[in-house]
Amino acid sequence: MKGTIHVRYEILRSARNPLLLGISWALPLVVFYAVAPEQRHALADCLTAPNGHGMTDCVSFPLYFMTAMAAYGAMWATIAPGARIARDRGKGWIRQLRTTPLRARTEAVAKVLASYLGALPALVLLYLAGVSLGVRLDAAQWFEMTGLLLVGLAPFVAIGIVFGHLVPPDAITVAEAGFVVILALLGGAFGTLFAGGVMLRVVKLLPSYWLVQAGKTAIGSGSWPAEAWIVVGIWTLCSVPLAALAYQHDKARV
């Protein structure tokens, strides 16, 4: 197929970025092992019970933190290729590509694949770390959890592309870091912020919240509601066309 070399080199370039390795794969793993062993038997991520008394929907701390760190690393990995777009743009490389027959579709496929392939090791490494601290899920639960994580990451892939085409190269790292850290923080990746109330309802509108919640598949189907799919779906449906628009806008500008 014509575009395979482009896709392959896009992935290769992505993998050669030491930042990806450090921030998206190594750091979440280190943080997980620094925090989780001491709270191995604790419960986490509880919600206020519907009757207002006590807590419900808790999961084990290792499961919660495994998912949180996996999501955090994966958010970084999926948004990171956007920074490469900005750098390539700054170097005039995108402009050079416009003089070749390279198709927009091939570019898009390459970016998405590079994003997801960068995210996979973050997930797998944290799953293994979770298992080493006693996290046990059945196959269907692992599968379902990974499914939501992958879908929930789609907006980050798209937003990376939006940033890459619109943010100046010297501001891209700050923009992406700010976006990921704020969403991770509000989503509860560094500890649950809200167990109930208005703020919980607000953060439930963020894809990062549902990424962190993906571990709740462990406690039954009802804990991973349709709401998760709707929120993630809306973010995806809005951010993907936005990425296409940003690409087109950039193309018209060069």
Partner: protein, 319 residues
């Protein structure tokens, strides 16, 4: 110039205009480039070369006029892989090695050249394993050229291909470009190196202030400027006396040597030998392309009229 139909022309433009704000970068370019021609787009910085090239590549949209590349729009031609380009500005992407980069660029085209062959021909084989962001300016320029060459496209558009490259490197690049031309490809290169245009192009299109001021072989452009230069060794003669000779436009002295710029060298030489028998080491030469260039395009800061005047062929010839 050969008559070439819109369908078969490599590039055909009529009345091309492009402005950026109040800057009229291109104002009315009509040009036909036949397939297989090697054409130099020659002009000073800011003449509109890069804007013209950008329009041919579909990177800029003209405000007015038409442009066809092999009978199609520039965008279609690019998408079809008919055009290989080397842009003037821009550096190489990071996290790739030289060979990988050339391989990547070649992969976009329907009938690319063998990467090893291109690396050899551009003198980049010995740096094939280097990271593209760890190259010197000249090396990076060669790699960019190699990438354009790898396309094996029918039309090669090169914007200042030898900028920042040492003399040896230039020779290699021009050898490679001529080899491409010999295979029947169409080559358009922009340059402000006059010698390069003269030595490597079938035809020179001289462009200044967004307009074509001359178009033809290097020799034709020189002929458009009527003046010839006579150099001679002639001590102790007043310049005013020399300037008064028939056919002489001006005279300068460098030590014992005098340089006469002439509108009619035959008359000037006859008068020179007649009036000054002591004259020796007489040498006649046509104006260099550099001089032709200055005369045709006028001072870069000069007014519009000067250029229009100069672009009229032989306007300084008597009669």
């Amino acid at each position: 110039m050969a008559v070439v139909s819109a369908e078969t022309a490599g590039i055909r433009t009529t009345g091309l205009t492009k402005s950026y704000g109040s800057v009229h970068a291109v104002r009315g370019i009509d040009l036909v480039i036949a397939p297989g021609e090697t054409v130099a787009l020659l002009g000073p910085n800011g003449a509109g070369k890069t804007t013209t090239v950008d329009i041919f590549l579909g990177l800029a949209r003209p405000d007015g006029g038409t442009v066809f590349v092999f009978g199609a729009s520039p965008t279609e031609a690019v998408r079809s892989g008919w055009v290989g380009a080397m842009l003037q500005s821009g550096s190489l992407p990071d996290h790739l090695r030289v060979r990988e980069l050339v391989t990547l660029l070649a992969s976009y085209y329907p009938h690319p050249r063998r990467v090893d062959e291109v690396l050899d021909q551009t003198g980049t084989a010995d740096i094939a394993g280097r990271w593209t962001n760890k190259l010197s300016g000249g090396q990076a320029q060669r790699v960019r050229f190699a990438a354009a060459l790898a396309s094996n496209a029918d039309l090669l558009i090169l914007d200042e291909p030898t900028a920042g490259i040492d003399v040896e490197g230039r020779r290699e690049i021009w050898r490679a470009i001529r080899a491409v031309a010999e295979r029947g490809k169409t080559v358009l290169f922009a340059t402000h190196y006059l010698e390069e245009a003269d030595a490597n192009a079938d035809r020179i299109v001289l462009i200044a202030r967004g307009e074509i001021v001359a178009d033809g072989p290097g020799s034709e452009i020189k002929a458009k400027v009527g003046s010839r230069t006579v150099k001679a060794t002639l001590p102790g003669v007043e310049l005013a006396e020399l300037r008064a000779l028939p056919g002489v436009l001006g005279a300068e002295r460098h030590g014992e040597a005098v340089t006469l710029s002439c509108s009619d060298t035959d008359a000037a030489l006859g008068a020179l030998f007649g009036s000054f028998p002591a004259v020796r080491d007489v040498e006649v030469r046509g104006a260099s392309l550099e001089e032709a260039f200055l005369e045709l395009t006028g001072d870069e800061h000069g007014d519009q009229d000067a250029k229009v005047e100069a672009s009229r062929p032989g306007n300084e010839e008597p009669g």
